[in-house]
Structure formats: C-alpha cells, structure tokens
C-alpha cells in the first residue's frame, strides 16, 4: 500500500524519476541562524542530504586582541565572546588571571560572581527558550521570554551599569558590591518568575505540535555527544550527567544545593531536540535556587582583593573550564610574565555544537535544521569569537 520513495546519493534517478540535488544558501542573513552564520544546504526537496556550516562572519579576533591589551583591559572583551551570557566569560577570564597570578578572591566577591552569573544564565536560557519557540513558529513565547529577560537585565544593570556587556568582574573580585536592597529586588523577581516557567510549560513545552516537531528529531547519543565534545545542556540532554559546577566545582558552587537536570527521553529518545530544550527550562529553576541560596548565605567582607594595576602574573599556563549557559567553556591562557597575556585560546560551547551539525544533518528536513540549531543554542559570535 505505501509507496517507498528511494533517495539516491548521486544525482541519479530514483524509481525512473530523475531528480537533482538542490543547493540552498541558508544565511548569512536568515531569520533563524542566530547571528550571522551560513549553511550550505544540499537538499532533495524538503529533505536535506547535508548541511555544511560556514562560520567566521563574526570573527573579531578576540584572541589576538588579548595579546595586545593588558590583563585588566581584556575583561571588557570577554563580554563580547558570548554576549548573551557575558558574565560567565568574565568569570572564566578572571579565574584564569587569578590562577596565574595566585590571587586570592574574597568570599563575598565569589558570592557576588555566582549571583551575577546565575542571573545571566537565566537570561541566556530565556533567550534560548524564546528563540526556540520562534524558530518553531510560535512567536508569543519569545516575547514572554524577552519580557522576563528585560527584568533580569534591569537587575543586572543596577548591579553593574550595563545590560549586555557587563564587565562586572575584575581580576581579584568584582567591581561593585551589590547595591542597596538588591537581595530584596532579586528575590521579588524570582518569586514572580518561577511560576511563569510553569506557564511556559503550559504554553509551549507540552504543546502537541511542539512535541511532534522536536521529539526524536536529531537525536545525539551520549557517545557521539562526548566524541564531538558537546558540552553543557546539550551534553546533559544526551543523558550524560555532568555539570562542571557540581563535578569539578570552581568558585563557591560547592556551597549550594542544586540538582543537575538530565535528559530522560520524555516524549522521544534521550538526546533529541525536545530534551535539549527542556533541560534548559529546568536549569532556569535550578539557577534560581542557587541565586536564592547565595543571597541568603552572602558573607561580609571586601569584594575585591588588592591587585596591582600593573598586573603581571608569573610565567605559566592554565586551562580553565567554566560552566557557561552554553556549557563547559575551556580557556587556555599562557603568560610569559609580562603585562600582556602571551596567548589566550577559548574553546566555546557553541563551537563544538556547530561542528556536530554537519554529521547530524543527513535525512533531516529543512524545518528540522532550524529546530536543531535552536536546540543546540548556538550563538554565532561565540563560535567565531
């Protein structure tokens, strides 16, 4: 009864019906490429044979800049590595410099960092959530997510004076202490926000069309995820229970009690697009928990250690790994004892996520590619740096 349509790899004929592969250029300007990147899509009608990512449109040579500006001066540039979640990149750079220079960070500063970083994580996941909905065709969740994100932006703006490129951290601590009455404001926001995450569930996550669009699409097995060095929420969605904040704790994360959401295969298989999506949604709740605990246990004391303005860490090199919203960001920083870093290399989460797309693309539909990019939460500037 059913008619099997065979696809052939070459431009041959399938069932006596001559077809030709179509080459589509998706991007650099395309609504769902999340920044400027390009896919060369080889498609057979709606079904893709191959999607080859072409990145580099947003290359700002941040690593080269690091070799030109000083240790302190590089901090604002780390904002631009991943401008959706600048706080964690700040943190990675601060940790690298502190590790090289042997700077002891005051405890209060670490708490401030955690509060800021986790708020930034909620911010970033909100954007991922909204963009995911929009790429699937639902516009409303995006505006709702952006609305909540604006509120966090307001909070962060009060904390550090900027909404996107925070430049809040300094080598040895943070630039500003929490403003007066800040804990109260953050808690009030969280009290309102967490019920809204349930509303997001009702609006989008449990929607049948949405589930159908995402479940069992572009499944990444745990082995494949590890081999391609997928990190963060993408890795956890594939069933690998690993979170740097818990398993290789840095900063003051051991002080906090939180669970790490892992993909369970609720509607399809472990590691499909829906799992990647829902892991992020759950992580927002966990981040909110961490922020609450950090605000409760905030110790006194200074928020920045005494660091020389002319900071010259001794020669050496470090590998720093920080759990950003897009996963384990690995920094390789070399110092030669001078006032400028000798070499900075950043391996970002989006970079690994982009590299997996080509091997997943065969057999997906064009609409699925959009879902895949959104579910991997690729941020183009983070790929290109």
């Amino acid at each position: 009864m059913s008619v099997e349509i065979e696809f052939t790899d070459d431009h041959g004929s399938a069932g006596g019906f001559a077809t030709e592969e179509m080459t589509l250029n998706m991007g650099p300007q395309h609504p769902s490429t999340h920044g400027v990147l390009r896919f060369v899509v080889k498609a057979d009608g709606e079904v893709m044979r191959r999607a080859v990512p072409d990145v580099g449109y947003l290359h700002r040579s941040i690593e080269k800049i690091a070799e030109k500006v000083g240790w302190h001066g590089f901090m604002p540039y780390t904002d631009r590595v991943d401008y959706v979640a600048a706080m964690t990149c700040n943190q990675a750079w601060a940790m690298a410099a502190e590790s090289l220079g042997g700077v002891e960070v005051p405890r209060r500063a670490e708490y401030c960092r955690v509060i800021a970083a986790e708020l930034g994580r909620i911010c970033s996941h909100l954007l991922a959530f909204g963009a995911m909905g929009m790429d699937i065709g639902a516009f409303t969740p995006f505006t709702h997510a952006i609305r909540e994100r604006e509120m966090i932006n307001d909070l962060l703006e009060e904390l550090c004076g900027a909404r996107l490129t925070f430049n809040y951290l300094r080598i040895g601590g943070v630039a500003w202490d929490l403003p007066p009455d800040y804990a109260h404001k953050v808690l009030r926001f969280l009290d309102r926000f967490i019920p809204l995450v349930d509303e997001f569930d009702d609006l989008l996550s449990n929607n049948k069309i949405y589930i159908e669009r995402l479940a069992d699409v572009a499944v990444i097995s745990p082995e494949m995820a590890i081999a391609y060095n997928l990190v963060g929420p993408n890795l956890r969605a594939s069933g690998v229970d690993y979170d740097l904040r818990r398993d290789r704790p840095y900063s003051v994360y051991p002080d906090f009690d939180f669970t790490v959401p892992v993909g369970k295969g609720t509607w399809g298989s472990v590691g499909d697009c829906w799992e990647r999506y829902i892991v992020r949604l759950h992580e927002m709740r966990e981040s909110a928990k961490i922020v609450r605990q950090a605000l409760e246990g905030l110790p006194g004391g200074p928020v920045i250690a005494k660091v020389r303005r002319n900071f010259k860490p001794p020669a050496g090199e470090v590998h720093i790994r920080v759990e950003t919203p897009r996963g384990d960001q690995s920094w390789y920083v070399v110092s030669d004892g001078s006032e400028r870093p000798y070499r900075v290399h950043i391996r970002t989460g989006s970079f690994s996520a982009m590299s997996i797309i080509e091997s997943l693309s065969n057999g997906l539909m064009i609409a699925d590619l959009v879902a895949l990019i959104a579910s991997l939460d690729v941020v183009a500037p983070e790929v290109d740096r």
């Binding site: 589509l24 709606e46 065709g137 516009f139 009290d191 309102r192 349930d198 609006l203 069309i209 609409a367």
Partner: protein, 391 residues
C-alpha cells in the same frame, strides 16, 4: 442589481444593453471591493496586530489615528508609494500577474457569501461548491509567485503551498458534506435558511458529528488560508518569507491583503455553514432595518472566528510539512468521512432532528467554555503579582 441595470438599459436604448450591464457590474464590483473588502482586510490587519500585541504583553500599533486604527491606511499608502522592485532574473509576466491572481481568488469568493436575506451578490445554486473552487485560485497565484521569483526559498514556499492547499481541499470538502446533507442544498442562502437564529437551531448543534465537522472545517480552513499552525508556505524562520521573498511594495502587500481577506472569508463561511449565518429574530417588518441587523449579525459572527484564528496563531507553533500531510490524510480525511456517514445515519434515525441532542450539545459547549474560563482564572492567579507597567 440586475433589475436596476435592466431598467437603466431600457431607459437608454442608444447604448448597447450588454455593454451597460458589463460596465454596471464592473462598477458595482469595484465599489464592493473598495468600500467593503479592502477595508475589511486592512482593518483585520490592524486588529490582528493589536490582538497579537496584547497576547504578547505588548501594545501594538497605537499611534496613527485613535488607538492606531488608521494604521492599515498608513501601511497601505506607504506600500503604494514604495518602489515596485522587479528583480532582474525573475520571470517577469508571471511575477507581475501572481499577486493579482491571489487577490482575485479571494475577492471572487465574496460573490457567494450571504450577508443578509437579500444582501448577496449572486445566490448561486452551487454556492458553497463555487467558493471552495474559486479560493483554489489562490494556490495558482502562490505557485506562480514562488516559481517566477527564481529563488529557491520562494519555490519551496510555492510548492509547499500547492501541496498543502490541494491536500486540504479534500477534508474541507468532506466536512461540508454533512452540512449539505442536513440542509439539502448547496446554495449558501439555502443553507442559512435551513437554520434559525437561536443557537440550538444552528447546524453545528444538529448532531455530534456536525459539531466535530465544524471543528475540522475550521482547521482545514486555516490550512487553506495559510494560517498558523499551517503557515508553511511563508514560514518565516525556515523560508525567510516563502513565496513572497522577492516581492516588495504593493505587490507584497497584495499577498497579505489576500491573507487577511481570506481570514474574513473563512469566518463568514464558518458562520454561514454552522452558526446560522445572518439569521436574526424577526423583530421588525422594515426590510432595511432587518437587512442591517442581518449584516451585523454575520459580520460579528465572522469576526469572532477571525479573532479565534488570530488567537490560535499567537498560540501555536508551526507544523512540519510531513506532519501536515500526515494530519490531513491520517486524521482529517478519515474523521471527515466518518462524520459524513455519521450524519447520514443520524438523519435516518431522526429525520426531523432531535431537540434533546441539540440542547445536550449546547450544554456540552457551554461546559467546555466554563472549564476554559476556570483555566484562564488559574493562569491569572498563578501570574498574579507580576509587576507589569513598572517603569
């Protein structure tokens, strides 16, 4: 209408009668298009943007005119004044014609839509068949637009549209069958006349199958009108703007005009087929007053469904092309067939219909609305304390 023209022809024997009739018809058509259809489509665009905005915690266009009401005029004017860009590599004649075909398709549907007992352009005895047939003209236009644009995204959009509209014609037609069975005519006026003004006399409450049929019809009509969740031909996040990618200015606007106009056609059809059309209680003997009341009745009923379509669009994500086909062939077509059979059986059992069933169905719908209201209250309670409006 025709009588008036005949009279005019008799009064002016020096002018050929045919010419006069054609000219008169054209003038009347233009009048209807400019005075009713265009404003309705335009205002629908404004309403849609406002409805969307409110659902999304925004305000929407509120600057042009009171509450932004004249936004549609401003947009239309802007698009008229814009340059009509024809890219070099397009198939020019097709590219130019396509938007007109699309608009013609939806405007022609208005011919058989009854706005009142006497307010109909032509009461065709195959009215409903005519409407389903003529709205398919839209697909020709969209396919032409997609093909002639010489752009792969546009072509994908055009082909998606063709697949979609042709497939959904079938369940759409099948969901009309039960209505035709019950009313025994294909004429839109006849179908309206077979219903009364009171809700329980509407076709949708005739029997359970017709209630389901009514829902299916609405779903299929959304697909026919390229509305979310079936807006694949112009899926913004996938195909940029689908078949309309290469269009600009007024030609681009014509596509959207057709989309918004189509929305109204869908609403009017749902109202006519299932919700009693223009039927009003006979409160007066003045025919003019009655006609006005009838017109407003169907206008409001139609606009309610326009609103529902907007609301659905603001809620649902987009379906994928293979799922679209699966939905059509695996779910809608069998269910529509079942409804036709079910209605036929029901009519054998109760040739005159059953008042008990009618009242029970009204009660069911009221219960659903009640549950819905409870749910809305729950959502509001959960989000209470949200500090909106805080600057």
């Amino acid at each position: 209408m025709l009588e008036f023209l005949n009279g005019l022809a008799a009064a002016n024997p020096e002018v050929p009668g045919v010419l006069l009739r054609v000219a008169g018809m054209l003038a009347f058509g233009a009048l209807v298009v400019f005075v009713f259809i265009l404003p309705v489509a335009g205002i629908t665009s404004w309403v849609e943007r406002r409805v969307w905005a409110r659902i999304q915690s925004r305000i929407g266009p509120n600057r042009v005119g009171p509450g932004g009401f004249l936004q549609w005029l401003a947009d239309g004017l802007k698009n008229l004044l814009k340059e009509d860009v024809i890219p070099q590599a397009v198939d020019e004649p097709l590219f130019r014609i396509a938007p007109y075909l699309v608009v013609a398709g939806f405007v022609a549907a208005f011919v058989a839509i009854p706005f009142g007992g006497s307010l109909i352009i032509a009461d065709l005895n195959i009215g409903i068949l005519y409407i389903t047939a003529i709205t398919s003209l839209v697909v020709v236009g969209i396919l032409m637009a997609g093909w002639s644009s010489n752009n792969k995204w546009s072509m994908l959009g055009g082909i998606r549209s063709a697949t979609q509209i042709i497939s959904y014609e079938i369940p759409l037609g099948l969901t009309i069958f039960p209505v035709v069975l019950v009313s025994g005519t294909l004429s839109t006026q006849g179908i309206t006349a077979a219903q009364g003004w009171a809700p329980h006399t509407w076709h949708m409450f005739h029997n359970p199958f017709l209630l389901v049929s009514f829902l299916l019809f609405f779903v299929c009509a959304l697909a026919e009108g390229n509305r979310t969740p079936f807006d694949l031909p112009e899926a913004e996040s996938e195909l940029v703007a689908g078949f309309a990618t290469e269009y600009s200015g007024m030609r681009s606007l014509l596509f959207f005009l057709a989309e918004w106009g189509n929305l109204y056609v869908i609403g009017a059809l749902v109202a006519t087929l299932f919700m009693g059309g223009w039927q009003v209680p006979r409160f007066t003997d003045d025919p003019t007053l009655l006609a006005v009341a009838q017109f407003f009745t169907i206008f409001l009923k139609a606009y309610f469904w326009v609103f529902v379509a907007m609301w659905v669009r603001a809620t649902l994500p987009r379906i994928r092309i293979d799922q679209l086909m699966a939905l059509c062939w695996k779910y809608l077509v069998p269910m529509a067939l079942l409804n036709t059979l079910g209605t036929a059986f029901f009519m054998v059992l109760f040739p005159e219909g059953s008042l008990v069933v009618r009242i029970a169905l009204v009660a069911v719908v009221l219960a659903i609305i009640f549950v819905f209201a409870r749910r809305v209250r729950f959502h509001l309670a959960r989000a209470r304390g949200l500090g909106y409006g805080a600057v």
